[in-house]
Point group: C2
């Protein structure tokens, strides 16, 4: 049997039961954005790791080395943000093709440094090695929160309002520009820029985690259509999304009209937005949204609510009528 | 300029000074086997990460998937052992070629589990993704020691006795069997086995760290000729090694005679032994060695001593006469 037949989640399920016999020493969060480990009397530690492989996660010709360094750390910091945690350190493993220019690596490390510096995350270690061909980057980031305050995917409750911290779909549209070899011009540049240099919502996650009424939180790496199911599964709830409430950028609308794309498909089933998705107690959501919008450049947008439905499917509503998403995780809507 | 011109250490030096502006929050150990981070009132945390790439660190046809899974964790646990620490958790990132059989991965995870289980190290997270061609494995391991008790490379002092926790060179000899396509038979099997499935010296490191008089400690991943220089640089000391005291296995002697290898070159300049090298106060070393040898299957062997020499070169002595090691880190001795 080939891996492609069972997928990555199938593989994880196969081995994880075998590890159940090893005591986890009060750790939790396996299957969440981060693992949660005991730290000291007042704090807990969160840990995440992400592997980026050339020609799978990036094309060397389509991203500058500076942006690639930035993004390698950003996708990990986004997982820390999703826990409502403060990042505290990073570890970088890199496998380098022998013919690579040192100047390329200098730029890559400058991009990594810019983001490290922005959020005060020291680089404390790692591994440097040769690669036979592809550039390979693995980053591991640690962070901390007050004890018991990590925001988990299991914390959503029926009637919570589902919000996102910014417009969705820009990154997926940026990827389409790359894959379809479209010459980037005008507003489309923003799409490519967000794809290549996403900003982790560290400050947003920290702020949200301080508000009373915040429940589940996660970062949008695969798209709402796929990511929301993790919250539904782990919280044992359902969810309904109002399509007309999904925030989309001017750049996405502009490019979608120009290239005949479906913007809603990109916004809901495209990946790598790295915005946060958060569920909020319905009695607190209005006040939190108002306050949030005074602090941050992108609005906190309510896009739906958590329900008691148990069928495992997201209910998509457009203008009060059900809307069908036929191929989950991909950009094709039914009629 | 190509990376091959400045090497991995040259690359690390280039970027690390740029990161000096980011506060490290009482962390230390950069350039040691592990980074050392604050944990709680009584303990500190140690962290290490290692990247293994197909065709650089292993050949898929020369190692069983079970051994590869075991070794991926073992090389990281060895770094934890070198700090005298207890491993507490691991994180596994793996990039998998699409055509890989699930059964191969099952075996790999069984090997990883066997070692996890042996030292009670839970697997708390990671990342699974596709790879365009090569199998890529990154492991990050955390451990802990009592506060201030991590054994660093900077802790050696003149007159310390340098000891190693087992015979050296087996792994390098095992690698030669693979690279020279030698049909493995008889005692040579032990060499291949230690190369493919090295045992991290966790219990040895923990035991040594409890003894009064233990100073610097590190694991032998590149060979004494290369690794000892890290202790010399960070402790600002010199070192002299007695070649006839270097422990070598029967299997290494057997294979070296049979294939006309220089066993001392393999023992001192071959890598991946994953034995510990430790420096011990000379007034305490005899007692510690005697006690150690009651507890562990491989003898703790004194192979030389720390000196005040400041020229950065290891002094090699054979039968009271200087001996020259011409190409450091490689298996060629001068006359």
């Amino acid at each position: 049997m080939k891996l492609s037949q069972i997928g990555e989640f199938g593989f994880i399920e196969r081995f994880s039961k075998n590890f159940a016999n090893i005591p986890t020493a009060n750790s939790k969060g396996i299957g969440d954005d981060c693992a949660i480990l005991p730290l000291d009397d007042k704090n807990e530690q969160v840990v995440t790791t992400d592997l980026l492989i050339e020609d799978i996660h990036f094309l060397r010709k389509a991203i500058s080395p500076f942006d690639l360094g930035y993004k390698s750390l950003a996708v990990n910091l986004s997982d820390i943000a999703a826990m409502g945690a403060q990042p505290t350190s990073s570890f970088l493993s890199i496998a380098i093709p022998a013919d690579m220019d040192v100047e390329y690596l200098d730029e890559l490390m400058k991009g990594y440094h810019e983001l490290s510096n922005k959020y005060n995350v020291p680089l404390l270690g790692g591994d440097t090695t040769r690669s036979p061909d592809k550039l390979v980057i693995n980053v591991c980031v640690m962070g901390k929160t007050a004890k018991g305050k990590s925001r988990m995917r299991s914390m959503a409750q029926p009637d919570d309002i589902i919000c996102v911290t910014g417009p969705l779909g820009d990154s997926a549209a940026g990827l389409k520009l790359i894959l379809e070899n479209i010459a980037v011009e005008g507003k489309s540049r923003d799409l490519l820029n967000w794809h290549n240099k996403p900003e982790p919502a560290i400050n947003e996650g920290l702020w949200l985690n301080k508000q009373e009424g915040i429940k589940a939180m996660m970062d949008l790496s695969d798209g709402v259509a796929s990511d929301l199911k993790h919250i539904m599964k782990q919280s044992q709830v359902g969810a309904t999304i109002q399509l007309e409430d999904v925030p989309m950028s001017e750049a996405l609308i502009y490019a979608s009209e120009k290239y005949n794309w479906e913007p809603e498909a990109l916004a809901l089933a495209g990946g790598e937005d790295y915005r946060l998705m958060v569920t909020i107690d319905k009695t607190k959501s209005e006040k939190i949204i108002t306050e949030y919008n005074k602090h941050f450049p992108y609005r906190l947008s309510p896009i739906g609510r958590i329900t008691q439905a148990k069928n495992g499917e997201i209910e998509w509503i457009k203008k009060d009528r059900p809307f069908e998403l036929t191929k989950e995780g991909f950009n094709h809507f039914g009629h």
